[in-house]
Symmetry: C2
Subunit: 354 residues, 2 copies
């Protein structure tokens, strides 16, 4: 095997009953094979490639190969158009048998167990420095649960893997980004009532800090962070709620005292419009800290989810994922759109460039 | 005075210290003068026209004229390009003197009193059938308060004017619409905590009903109404909040039992994307019922507010307004963008066509 040309990305294949393997395999159909290794099953990736071919995609010259040992890093050339493109797969020890025979589009405990194993292995590869960053294809929360996994999803699992034993969990935040807008959420999967309770000075300040440091890592020298209010018109001076006065405002002041260019609290209904970058509208901010899940995700998804990338901020390594789920209704058809995964891979490369 | 060519729109001029008079006057700069009468001050509208000319706009042939008596409806011709265009103004009895000498960009009780008087008069004209619909230029809430007005804004004032004495207030809802998206809000200017409390079966059902009947009046024969959830992922089956199960879902069922094509509760972060109408993306729904102010206004404002129109649904007459405020920082410069008011006028014409 030739010499390594640089540390690869690792991509966990996701739930084998979902669209994960297909959208991963689709990344190898272009002229330039990705500098990436799939952590998953050779047979599943082979099946995914066959699915794409049956759906009319051209995959001549793409070959799925198992990586035999991790000490040999794969050769990941920038292929010439006629060159054969190798989709390297690292099969983690203990991967269940028969994954490629599971029918698409249904919840399966074996698929859930395999998906979790691949995420753990990918995290190990990036934590050890073998890989430069990790990208995760979608898994299915119910399949994870069926496999007896204690973690409800990627974020919680990675947070646990990144925390040294006996230490408090490393604080992480979800960023959703597309070419026009980056938004970072104070809380995610809790009720709106609970989300309001999570708007504390500590949580908001920590979100601003994590956002700031992540934007620095993305190469921005003085990131401009807008902080949204919680209430309509950011409370209109206390008229409609006082979280802006007592919690969000003081968190912004504390961040500014640390030298962070944070501003707000801004009226939620216009701050995302103001932050939006487009050809005819340079955004006023580099990212918006949103007070709850839908405040941030409604605008970032409004123009479509194909380009959306989910980035877990706060981990000691780079992790991105596409902004879609397993799409059981599409799995096995070869018709799933691989562009969000492509964007996630591009973002992972950019974030791990330094 | 020549014969009337149809019932006019009435436009209340708004706060004279804000951009209202300018954006109203700007509607007369095009080749086709609007079929509209301004309810306001002749001197203020003359000043606004002068401001526009100083800012470089061409206003040759536009002349501000007072309407002398209401029984004579104005002649509102579809002007030929060379024809003189008359900006008709109806001055309501009791209008304060000296309005055109108030400096732009500041809160003034006299301006607040005049703005309220013009709104009342415009409502009277449309309630009496003299006008076909009303459009309101922005007023300033603090100027209203300084004038001793009991109503915090347009909506509450119009709601009171439309309610017969001794009756409970007619229920109204705010719709914000642009060419891509229509969204109707269950509540508006309350804190997010109070907005959650306002998500009751009665309020949600009433919002769906008002939306349905308004869309019928807009000419849709079977409007498709999406109802957003309150919580992330619409609660994910009760995992993150149960309002979808106990309140919003039953309200949708009740609406469906009345023959209304309401669906949901949908995940808030994707329902607006799904409802969005664009050249390459026909929307799945005709309007979205949003559970609170920012849920609905973030997406409708995301692409810019220039085309946004505010429509008060539930009134016994058509009332629209531009989706911006008095913009004191721009008032008097002639640089305010009149396109939202133009859209509001177009929407008012469309809504009062039948």
């Amino acid at each position: 095997m030739p010499e390594c040309t640089g540390r690869p990305l690792v991509i966990s294949m996701g739930d084998v009953c979902g669209i994960g393997p297909e959208v991963v395999a689709a990344q190898w159909l272009g002229a330039l094979p990705p500098q990436a290794v799939v952590v998953g099953s050779v047979a599943v990736m082979q099946r995914a490639l066959t699915t794409l071919v049956k759906a009319g995609h051209r995959a001549e010259g793409v070959e799925v190969q198992a990586l035999e040992a991790l000490k040999m890093q794969p050769h990941l050339p920038l292929a010439a158009p006629q060159q054969r493109s190798i989709l390297w797969v690292w099969e983690p020890p203990g991967l269940p048998d028969g994954l490629a025979h599971l029918p698409c589009g249904q919840i399966d405990a074996k698929a859930g167990a395999a998906a979790a194993l691949c995420v753990r292995e990918a995290a190990r590869l990036v934590l050890s420095g073998w890989a430069r960053a990790m990208v995760t294809a979608p898994l299915h929360k119910e399949a994870l649960a069926a496999a007896g996994e204690a973690f409800p999803g990627h974020t919680e699992l990675l947070q646990a893997l990144a925390t040294p034993p006996g230490q408090p969990l490393v604080p992480v935040r979800m960023m959703l980004a597309n070419p026009e807008l980056k938004t970072v959420l104070v809380s995610i999967h809790v009720s709106l009532r609970q989300a309001i309770e999570a708007v504390t000075l500590g949580n908001v300040l920590q979100t601003i800090r994590i956002t700031h440091h992540s934007l620095l890592r993305m190469g921005l020298s003085q990131p401009r962070i807008a902080v949204a209010g919680l209430n309509p018109h950011a409370g209109e001076g206390g008229l409609f709620g006082d979280e802006e006065l007592h919690t969000i405002g003081p968190a912004i002041q504390a961040a500014r005292a640390e030298g962070i260019d944070a501003s707000g609290p801004w009226a939620p209904d216009t701050v995302f419009m103001r932050a939006r970058h487009s050809a005819d509208h340079p955004g006023e901010f580099d990212a918006v800290v949103a007070m709850y899940h839908d405040q941030g995700l409604i605008p970032v998804k409004y123009l479509g989810v194909a380009d959306g990338v989910n980035v877990t901020l706060g981990l000691p390594f780079v992790r991105t994922s596409p902004d879609h789920g397993t799409a059981f209704d599409l799995a096995g058809t070869g018709r799933a759109d691989p562009s969000s995964l492509a964007q996630a891979m591009e973002m992972a490369l950019a974030l791990s460039a330094r």
